[in-house]
């Protein structure tokens, strides 16, 4: 029992060690995954923001250039009639300026820039630069009306319908990965240009899209989410950059599944490595444990073999000594010894026969596929009947107490009977003449128990612990070489059951065989 316990403890320690290593690897892997995920999302958003900033810078530069060009042209205006005739033709040389015209207090209402409010017109004539919100012209190109003061002619302005198709081109040209795109919004969240074809109808209808609220927040300088459900119908990561004048926002976004694909691949790789490390650790640990346990097994076998050799040599030596004494008695040719010689030979032959039978039982295989339903009550009665002859010879009474209901188990009847008879025989031999051995059957939950109870001297507590181990007989004399109880345990364990013993010095012992209850056979 000591060796078995140390072996189990060692196996347990090894298991804890291996599991601990695996847990460490797992924790490191999970931490790396969390870190990688957070970092990847942050990096992707930063990259998108950089693209948005570059786009915003380009758009800003383009608008500045258009404005400067108009200022330069306005500075060249010398006289009203000449300007009225020449300015419109500038649209041919600078198509991006769209329709260019001189604005004076005499300009007919039908010729005024259509998207400028009256206050803006007044402001333009008073020498202020004014601009309309972006709108889409009849030919569906985006435009803004812009008026700048005409240099040498107070009270006049040069107005242009800036063609912002280039803005749309710039936004449409931005591609991030396979499907990432850019959007441009005004300060109210209205879509001005869209890289995603599916969102372009909103340019013309003016309907807000999912990103409109983000653009409004950015224009107001408020915090905006960097990951959200985009207008394209899936989770997107976004970076943005505001323009100062006009107050537009450029948003660059990419579907999260695509933006985080490299991270996902890295995670898959990392997970695979972590799992592989875990598997290798467990496999190496298991292999190493098996080697250690095998070594212990070999050592244990040698110890067992030693115990067997000691037991056999002790028991056979004892038998040999008796037979030598008997032989010496026979050599005297004294007829008075004949009864003793006969008894000795008879006794020793029986002992050796029992010895051989015990070993034969040890070698008998237990095959669960040969188990049959067995009523433990009837079985107990049968065992009692078989043991009566031996009990009567020892002057011991056998009492059988079945359970109140049939207790069905599945068993190899022969082997189970060998085990039960072993216990009953031990009990008879431990009982004083005139004593009683009880064979009781009990049922509790899903377990049926066969108890063999004697009122003998009992077993010392220090011997109880290893009583079912080989060569640990309590008697160590006569035919008991210590193979009976280990064989009982072997047979019962093979039946899916368990053995136990309770004993008290001076009061007797109770050996139990517990077996799982089976359904009553139909």
């Amino acid at each position: 029992m000591t060796n078995g316990s140390s072996r189990a403890a060692m196996a347990r320690n090894l298991l804890v060690l291996v599991a601990g290593s695996g847990l460490v690897i797992l924790l490191v892997g999970i931490s790396a995954i969390v870190f990688l995920r957070r970092n990847a999302e942050r990096n992707a958003q930063s990259a998108l923001a950089v693209i948005a900033e570059q786009a915003a810078a380009r758009i800003g530069a383009y608008l500045s250039h258009q404005r400067e060009m108009l200022h330069a042209l306005a500075g060249l205006v010398a006289g009203i009639p000449d300007a009225e005739r020449r300015l419109p033709q500038l649209a041919l040389d600078a198509p991006s300026l769209g329709r260019v015209a001189l604005l004076t207090s005499r300009t007919p209402p039908g010729e005024l820039p259509r998207r400028l409010a009256s206050a803006d017109i007044v402001g333009a004539l008073a020498g202020r630069e004014v601009a309309s919100p972006l709108y889409f012209r009849e030919d569906l190109t985006p435009a803004i009306d812009l008026c700048v003061p005409a240099g040498a002619t107070p009270g006049t302005a040069v107005c242009a319908t800036l063609d912002l198709l280039e803005l749309q081109r710039q936004v449409q040209r931005i591609r991030v990965g396979e499907t990432g795109f850019a959007l441009a919004f005004d300060g109210d969240g209205r879509l001005l240009a869209a890289g995603a074809p599916t969102l372009r109808p909103a340019l013309l209808t003016g309907e807000p899209i999912a990103e409109s609220s983000l653009a409004t927040k950015v224009a107001r300088g408020e915090a905006a989410p960097a990951r959200f459900r985009g207008a394209i119908g899936e989770d997107v990561l976004a970076g943005w950059a505001p323009l100062r004048e006009p107050r537009w926002t450029v948003v660059v976004e990419q579907p999260a599944r695509e933006a985080l694909a490299p991270m996902r691949n890295a995670l898959i790789g990392l997970s695979a490595i972590a799992v592989a490390a875990l598997v290798v650790t467990l496999a190496l640990g298991a292999a190493q444990s098996r080697r250690v346990l095998d070594a212990l097994e070999v050592e244990e076998r040698w110890r067992t073999a030693g115990r067997i050799a000691t037991g056999i040599s002790h028991d056979l030596g004892h038998r040999l000594a008796i037979l030598q004494s008997t032989s010496a008695l026979a050599e005297t040719n004294d007829p008075a010894y004949l009864p003793l010689i006969r008894d000795n030979l008879k006794s020793e032959t029986a002992t050796l026969k029992k010895f051989v039978a015990d070993f034969a039982d040890l070698s008998r295989e237990v095959s669960p596929d040969q188990f049959l339903p067995l009523d433990l009550n009837a079985f107990a009665q049968s065992v009692g009947r078989t043991a009566i002859a031996h009990a009567e010879k020892a002057g011991v009474h056998i009492r059988v107490a079945p359970a109140s209901n049939p207790a069905w188990v599945k068993a190899d009847r022969y082997l189970l009977e060998r085990a039960a008879l072993n216990l009953v025989t031990n009990a008879i031999e431990a009982s004083p003449a005139g004593g009683e051995v009880a064979i009781e059957v009990h049922q509790q939950d899903a377990v049926a128990k066969l108890k063999v109870i004697d009122r003998g001297p009992g077993i010392a507590p220090e011997r109880l612990a290893g009583i079912f181990d080989a060569f640990k007989s309590t008697k160590r004399t006569g035919a008991h070489v210590g193979m009976g109880l280990p064989n009982v345990r072997r047979i019962v364990t093979a039946h899916g059951g368990d053995t136990s013993v309770e004993s008290e010095i001076g009061k007797g012992s109770t050996f139990s065989i517990a077996l799982p209850i089976q359904l009553r056979p139909s």
Binding site: E84, R85, P88, Q89, A91, L92, R99, G110, F136, R137, E138, D139, L140, T141, L165, Q168, R169, Q172, G195, P197, T198, R200, P201, L203, L204, T205
Partner: protein, 424 residues
């Protein structure tokens, strides 16, 4: 009972579409309200569908020559007379055969007479005006009650101001089965809805608009030869022949078309060197259609070419433009008249043509037309020009990518649609 079931199943099998044949519906985005396709109906954008329902006698081949449509075995014995047979088996959508009487009734408004000589029909213009251009455009129809039926491959299934559904009369494997014309309130709405995937065909009026469709694989850009030209009409009531000639000579058409359209408008007389417009007595006002930025830009180019002889560009509404053109009481106006094939001159400028809206009269050109000498007719037209022709912009449309061979080269913008093949 068993016989009845068998008969019923046979009928069902007979009525079912052939195995593997799939129906293909094409949705065309137009600006509404849509009106009837019947000849003489109020003008509307549903006119694009007219040639699918109402055939004409002739159509134009890619080289500009006439090809049979409803007419077969046709032969011109002069510009004003053609002998023909009715295409064998030609029937209207109500199942009745196309007769000489139907053709006579259909061409009466165009002042063309039809006589029968055995199984041959003689189609002629009593005035001697060339008939070939008219026969390419005049629809042949039959009035059934208060309805008009045509002999084209499609017939009208249902019609209202927002939707017209046309269905092919006889199954044709790998072709469009149904066409749904969608009349949207504005051009912008038609455009936006096509972008959104609610329509499969959109006529594009400005190449810039194609920018919106970058990256949309559902639609393909289709280009075709235009039969019209961006032109400077010269008011016949205000400008005499010499002034018109001087104006036409002063316009560097190649430079102007390049300036306004880049390479997207095929210029007339590309090597021309513009003359100095000294014979123009007074500064001229240039009227442009307010809703057509291309014409407006070309108006500016004309103003630049004329220099101090140009007074400025005036934007006018479509209605105003039509009235001005009919009255010819304007200086210059940007228009898009029909110019191809060359015989079209007879349709637009011939004195007696029912489609001569300007009232232009040029006896020498009329004589050339009546003689069938298109080259001389064009020469006479240039000699006494009612308009200066600048360039022919491409026809443009966005068409469902599943259509394999869309073409826009016919007499009419979408005239070849019944022949388009589709992926099955």
């Amino acid at each position: 009972m068993r016989h009845a079931s068998l008969a019923a199943s046979l009928v069902l099998v007979a009525c079912a579409p052939p195995h593997g044949q799939q129906e293909f519906r094409l949705r065309v985005a137009l600006v509404g309200p849509l009106k009837s396709l019947a000849p003489g109906s109020e003008p509307s954008y549903s006119v694009y569908a007219e040639p699918w329902v109402f055939e004409s006698l002739l159509r134009t081949a890619d080289d500009g020559s006439p090809r049979p449509a409803l007419a077969s075995d046709f032969q011109f014995s002069g510009p004003a007379q053609m002998a023909m047979r009715i295409r064998a088996g030609a029937k209207f959508s109500d199942g009745s055969p196309v007769t000489a009487e139907d053709i006579r009734n259909s061409l009466r408004a165009a002042r063309i007479e039809v006589r029968e000589q055995g199984d041959t029909l003689l189609v002629e213009s009593p005035s001697g005006a060339p008939i070939e251009p008219l026969l390419r455009f005049e629809p042949i129809f039959k009035r059934v009650g208060d309805q008009y039926v045509g002999s084209g491959p499609f017939q009208v299934v249902s019609i209202d101001a927002e939707r017209i559904l046309l269905r092919r009369r006889a199954p044709a494997a790998g072709r469009i089965t149904e066409v749904l014309l969608l009349g949207f309130p504005t051009a912008r709405e038609a455009f936006a809805r096509t972008l959104a995937g609610d329509a499969d065909l959109l006529i594009v009026t400005d190449p810039k608009q194609l920018e919106f469709f970058q990256g949309i694989r559902r639609l393909r850009i289709v280009r075709g030869r235009s039969v019209g030209a961006i032109s400077v009409a010269m008011g016949l009531r205000r400008l005499g022949r010499s002034e018109r000639r001087a104006i036409a000579a002063a316009l560097p058409v190649a430079k102007m078309s390049q300036l306004v359209f880049g390479d997207e408008c095929r210029p007339f007389a590309p090597n021309e060197t513009a003359a100095n417009p000294t014979s123009i007595a007074r500064p001229l006002e240039i009227a442009v259609l307010a809703e057509d930025p291309q014409l407006e830009h070309m108006g500016l180019a004309v103003a630049r070419a004329l220099g101090s002889r140009a007074k400025g560009v005036r934007r006018v509404s479509a209605q105003e433009a039509l009235e001005l053109f009919r009255s010819q009481d304007f200086d210059l106006m940007m228009t898009r008249p029909l110019v191809w094939p060359p015989s079209s001159a007879a349709l637009v400028w011939e004195s007696d043509s029912p489609r001569n809206e300007s009232g232009y009269r040029n006896p020498k050109m009329d004589a050339a037309l009546k003689a069938g000498d298109w080259a001389r007719a064009l020469q006479e037209l240039r000699d006494d020009p009612p308009a200066a022709f600048i360039c022919s912009p491409e026809r443009l449309a966005l068409v469902d990518s599943r259509v394999k061979n869309p073409q826009l080269n016919g007499d009419q913008y979408l005239g070849t649609l019944p022949d388009w093949e589709v992926e099955e």
